[in-house]
């Protein structure tokens, strides 16, 4: 943990630089709801006003959102930052339980208590980028694609987004990605859009076809991340993965969100909210 922190000197630079993931000092604000739109059957696009958070946020970072003032549900919910526009920042969320059900009912003009930006985001680096998204994993990867281009790490045609989902409704942000000009390939398990099957088959193809080294950035279900990491390692490509675990504080103090550190001699744990949520695949998946 300490080693990792010093390696990246994360706390001194609140903006993602050439090689550093974002990790500034988080803020706690009352953020006004600017929009809360249902974009698919169970996914919502929420826009919040919050200059302090928007200005400091980097791709892969997240916010903790308290969904109501009641103490049931008690804990705030973590959501990846999906995009920032000036003083505004957006998240995409799927309604899966009590908290997201309440969030879906939040009206424009209400305020939500939000803490962020939190965690270590993606480490941006120049060169060809392969962004592998499972379902809502696209939320932070869209932000990443945008930043890779806007900050001059990649030309649009150097960024390939592979988006997988169960069905057509799971493939989000297609228009926004098209506007960015990045290459997009889609798989769905039911074949309702793009190629039928799992996104990992596309990953293998991309790796096979690559003539130059390629960087992988991935966000999605754990099984998918593990598979992607395995393919990347086999191909000798660097791979970052963004993990999800249950969180209480999001700030690194409760030690509740840990994952086992891979290949450590004894048991050792990394906080997903602090050392992550984005990890180098090798930190969390043993090879």
């Amino acid at each position: 943990m300490d080693k990792k922190q010093s390696q990246f000197q994360t706390d001194s630079n609140p903006k993602p630089g050439i090689t550093e993931p974002s990790s500034g000092s988080p803020r706690h604000i009352e953020a006004k709801v600017l929009a809360n739109r249902r974009i698919t059957n169970d996914v919502y696009h929420l826009s919040l006003m919050g200059e302090e958070i928007a200005a400091a946020a980097g791709p892969g970072q997240f916010v903790m959102v308290r969904v109501s003032q009641a103490v049931d549900p008690l804990l705030p919910r973590p959501f990846s930052i999906h995009r920032v526009m000036g003083a505004r920042f957006d998240i995409l969320f799927r309604v899966v339980g009590q908290g997201t059900r309440i969030l879906a009912k939040t009206a424009v003009g209400e305020t939500l208590a939000v803490t962020g930006p939190l965690g270590r985001g993606f480490l941006l680096a120049p060169g060809r980028a392969l962004l592998v998204a499972g379902g809502l994993g696209l939320a932070p990867l869209f932000f990443l694609a945008q930043d890779l281009i806007n900050r001059g790490f990649c030309r649009p045609d150097e960024v390939t987004v592979l988006a997988g989902g169960r069905g057509r409704a799971d493939i989000l942000c297609r228009e926004e990605l098209a506007e960015l000009g990045v290459r997009v390939q889609i798989t769905t398990e039911d074949g309702s859009l793009g190629r039928p099957g799992l996104v990992t088959s596309l990953v293998q193809e991309q790796l096979d076809a690559a003539s130059e080294p390629i960087r992988l950035y991935s966000c999605g279900p754990k099984a998918m991340l593990q598979a992607v990491a395995g393919l990347a390692v086999a191909a000798g490509c660097p791979c970052q993965v963004s993990l999800e675990t249950g969180m209480a504080c999001g700030l690194g103090v409760c030690l509740g969100c840990v994952v086992r550190k891979a290949d450590a001699p004894g048991p050792a744990y990394l906080r997903v909210c602090r050392e992550g949520p984005v990890f180098d695949a090798g930190e969390v998946f043993s090879s």
Partner: protein, 306 residues
């Protein structure tokens, strides 16, 4: 009216105000630095320290419950030596009093840690955690046994002049017995309460939702139990009582003062409201001003029973 006097005294330790953080819920303070002005706290209690570093329990370590949460962190911490070397230099220069929460697997370990911390400048108090439900060896066994509590407190007392707090477990039939044992053996104050032992089960896997099986219940759910125990203990002993358990608003804090708490700790509330400590501090100040109570100490233990 002038700004009310919020100072309180624990042993020989004077706090600028009664708002403390609860061990294990505020890290080492730094984490909250951008969110609140931690120098406005009365005291900062750091995450429990053990003699040797501990990796902690495997995940999952936390579960949300109705108005509460279960945790079984397993006292993940860097160990005493690293704490003194890496954390203390920063903590020492903060304004709030510094309370170091310690947990040993044996009496000797507690004594060794207390002795080592006694030499450390900047450590204002030691809080003996004799009540952690999540560590197999040590922990709970001391806290549920009056004789063990007494002996441990006396032995630690003998090696330190720092303010000595003993943190009691609620998982006992009569907390006043443990409270008296600790007070009589030389504790300068009692922290009441640690978490209630609880369980949650995952229906899909039919496994406990915590890798450790059981965990400690904290948060608003337990407030009525904590308040009752603070009231019982405050009536039973002469040393100050520090109230903790479910406090998340200034109203909660004022209830604890009326019940007899000299200071309060805020734990789980930091997670769902990172500004909870400051909100409580401001609320207490406003309440005292409104009620024209000039000194917080005039509020303590003023519960009217007839």
């Amino acid at each position: 009216m002038n700004h009310p006097d919020l100072t309180v005294t624990l042993g020989r330790l004077k706090l600028a105000n009664p708002v403390m953080t609860a061990s294990g819920t505020f890290g080492y303070g730094e984490e909250y630095a951008g969110i609140i002005d931690i120098n406005r706290l009365g005291a900062l209690v750091v995450k429990g320290i053990s003699l040797r570093p501990r990796p902690g329990n495997p995940p999952p370590r936390i579960v949300e419950t109705a108005a509460g949460m279960l945790n079984a962190i397993g006292l993940q911490n860097v160990g005493l030596t690293a704490f003194i070397r890496d954390k203390l230099p920063y903590l020492r220069h903060l304004v709030p009093a510094l309370v170091v929460n310690i947990l040993g697997e044996t009496e000797d370990e507690y004594v060794e840690m207390a002795a080592a911390l006694s030499d450390q400048e900047g450590v204002d108090a030691i809080e003996l955690n004799i009540s952690c439900p999540n560590v197999a060896a040590g922990g709970l066994i001391f806290g549920a046994d009056a004789e063990a509590t007494s002996r441990l407190t006396a032995r630690v007392r003998a090696v330190t002049k720092k303010t000595l707090l003993v943190k009691l477990t609620p998982n006992v039939t009569d907390i006043t017995v443990m409270a008296k044992a600790a007070a009589d053996a030389g504790a300068d104050g009692l922290t009441v309460i640690n978490t209630l032992l609880g369980l949650a089960i995952d229906l899909t896997t039919r496994r406990p939702r915590l890798a450790n099986i059981t965990g400690g219940l904290s948060g608003p759910a337990i407030k009525p139990v904590a308040l009752r125990m603070v009231w019982q203990v405050a009536r039973a002993v002469d040393v100050p009582v520090i109230g903790v358990g479910g406090i998340s608003t200034w109203q909660d804090a004022v209830e604890f003062f009326i019940a007899g708490a000299t200071a309060i700790q805020i734990g789980t509330a930091n997670f769902f409201n990172p500004t909870a400590t400051m909100d409580v501090l401001e609320g207490i100040t406003a309440y005292l001003t409104d009620c024209e109570v000039t000194k917080l100490t005039d509020l303590i233990g003023t519960l009217r029973l007839s």
